[in-house]
């Protein structure tokens, strides 16, 4: 079972690939929209890439709740627990 930091690091890699944000900037307290400049279409890409990477399903109606990197990491942790 992956640690919180491992999930964050993998997610940071995805955000870097899609939005070009340095992986080190993708920290748990950062907001995707306000801090990382991930727009709504890129957020869909991040979600789909995360589903593939972590083998989870992130329903569309959950995506709006994933405001910060920490929200996403928690969701993935719970879904894979």
């Amino acid at each position: 079972m992956a640690t919180t930091e491992e999930i964050r690091a993998d997610l940071a890699e995805i955000v870097n690939e899609i939005a070009g944000i340095p992986a080190d900037d993708v920290q748990l307290d950062k907001s995707f929209v306000d801090d990382l400049d991930v727009d709504s279409l890129s957020m869909v890409e991040v979600v789909v890439a995360a589903e593939e990477k972590f083998g989870v399903e992130i329903p569309d109606d959950q995506v709006k709740n994933l405001k910060t990197v920490g929200d996403a990491v928690s969701f993935i942790e719970n879904a894979t627990a």
Binding site: I18, A19, G20, L41, V44, E45, V48, E51
Partner: protein
């Protein structure tokens, strides 16, 4: 009221023979072909396995994150637009509400469409990119350029198959003449070197099958021609009202004097065999430009290297210019670049403008056994005389579109 004069103050290109305007122009003058054999697995079953891919991959030039949000046709257009925009030195020198874009594509984001269809079939709808629509829509190159330069006077995408690039230039001239903009970034782009478009053009018997000798495959007016070679690339020009350019002391390459647009109303794919629509387009361009047939020193012909088209165009040139056709020198730069479809008119207009600017016509290569078309074709670079000169660039497209653009030396 006399029509406003429109001048060209910036040029950009990424083509099968060069990644920018200077390298493209020197390759054209050297007579260098950009056609190569396709070694990809997908090309193997095709009858025509040659194409003119761009000399410099757009990914080498563009920011990676921005590029991944663009179809290849938009990537190429952006490379050309960045060069043209920098060349025109217009940053902060034009009111955004007086700045427009008219950039065309013949097919649009076809490789994005097909790649997403592959994802849909293989992995399901959840794997279709949320960026697919903004990437594949044919107006994406124009819209992306408009966003980059902050154009607020309208962003346009004329679509008329292989005449699209020229039609975008014609539209840009109109926008300035109608007072709707002071500056219009115009051009065309295409990136369709993919199995499906190549199979489809192949089924129309339109492509050259000279697979064993790619550089000799595009041979306009040569008796051995057997079809066109699909090319990719983009070219962009900055059109500006002469007053606006003069007020800021801009360097001017040439004048975009006017255009003629006609339609054959004959057939969806075959050109009118008598070339009447093409003839009328050239005549209209002369009238609108207030040029006489004897002013036309040079024509960059559509001449794609198809058995019928090249000869029909030659007849149309004779009909349009009459006896003055004897005094004009033709070339087809497609002999080197292949046929860029919606990018063709733009790239060839850049070549036409540079021919007037540098006073030299790039050659038509592979003209070993020319058809007797009764017109003078430059098979080597041909110097143009000093003084006031004009030139035409022709583009014709499936659907019966004919667009001739006239340029006057600055």
């Amino acid at each position: 009221m006399p029509l406003k004069r429109v001048v060209i103050t910036g040029l950009g290109a990424t083509s099968p023979v060069g990644g920018d305007v200077p390298s493209t122009w020197s390759a054209l003058l050297e007579g260098r072909s950009g056609v190569t054999a396709l070694t990809d697995d997908w090309a193997e079953p095709l009858a025509a396995r040659i194409a003119a891919k761009v000399a410099v991959e757009p990914g080498e030039v563009l920011d990676r994150v921005k590029a991944r949000r663009m179809d290849r046709s938009t990537q190429l257009a952006m490379v050309a637009a960045e060069e043209a925009w920098a060349d025109a030195k217009l940053d902060d020198a034009v009111d955004p509400e007086r700045l427009a874009v008219a950039v065309a594509s013949g097919i649009g984001g076809v490789t994005t469409l097909l790649a997403n269809y592959d994802s849909l079939l293989e992995k399901g709808p959840r794997r279709v990119s949320p960026l697919a629509i903004p990437m594949l829509m044919p107006n994406s190159p124009a819209a992306t350029i408009g966003l980059r330069i902050g154009a607020k006077a309208g962003v346009h995408t004329p679509v008329s198959a292989c005449a699209s690039g020229n039609e975008a230039i014609a539209l840009g001239i109109d926008l300035i003449r109608l007072g709707r903009a002071d500056v219009v970034v115009v051009g065309g782009t295409e990136a369709a070197v993919h199995a499906l478009p190549m199979a489809a053009f192949g089924q129309m018997m339109a492509l050259s099958k000279r697979n064993d000798d790619p550089e000799a495959a595009s041979r306009p007016w040569d008796k051995g021609r057997d079809g066109f070679v699909l090319g990719e690339g983009a070219a962009v020009m900055v059109l500006e009202s002469a007053e606006h350019a003069a007020a800021r002391g801009a360097e001017v390459y040439a004048e975009a004097a006017g255009a003629g647009i006609t339609s054959d109303s004959h057939d969806i794919a075959q050109p009118d065999p008598a070339g009447l629509g093409a003839t009328r387009a050239m005549k209209r361009a002369l009238i609108e430009s207030e040029l006489a047939a004897t002013d036309i020193a040079h024509i960059n012909a559509h001449a794609t290297s198809t058995p019928q088209g090249d000869v029909a165009e030659a007849a149309a040139i004779r009909n349009a210019l009459g006896a003055a056709a004897d005094g004009t020198v033709l070339t087809s730069t497609k002999s080197m670049t292949g046929h860029l479809l919606g990018g063709a008119g733009a790239l060839e207009s850049v070549a036409t403008v540079l021919a007037l600017h540098h006073r030299v016509i790039p050659p038509t290569i592979n003209l070993d056994d020319p058809e007797d078309i009764g017109l003078d074709i430059a098979d080597k670079p041909r110097d143009l005389p000093a003084g006031d000169l004009a030139a035409l660039n022709n583009s014709f497209g499936f659907g019966g579109h004919n667009v001739a653009v006239a340029f006057r030396s600055a």
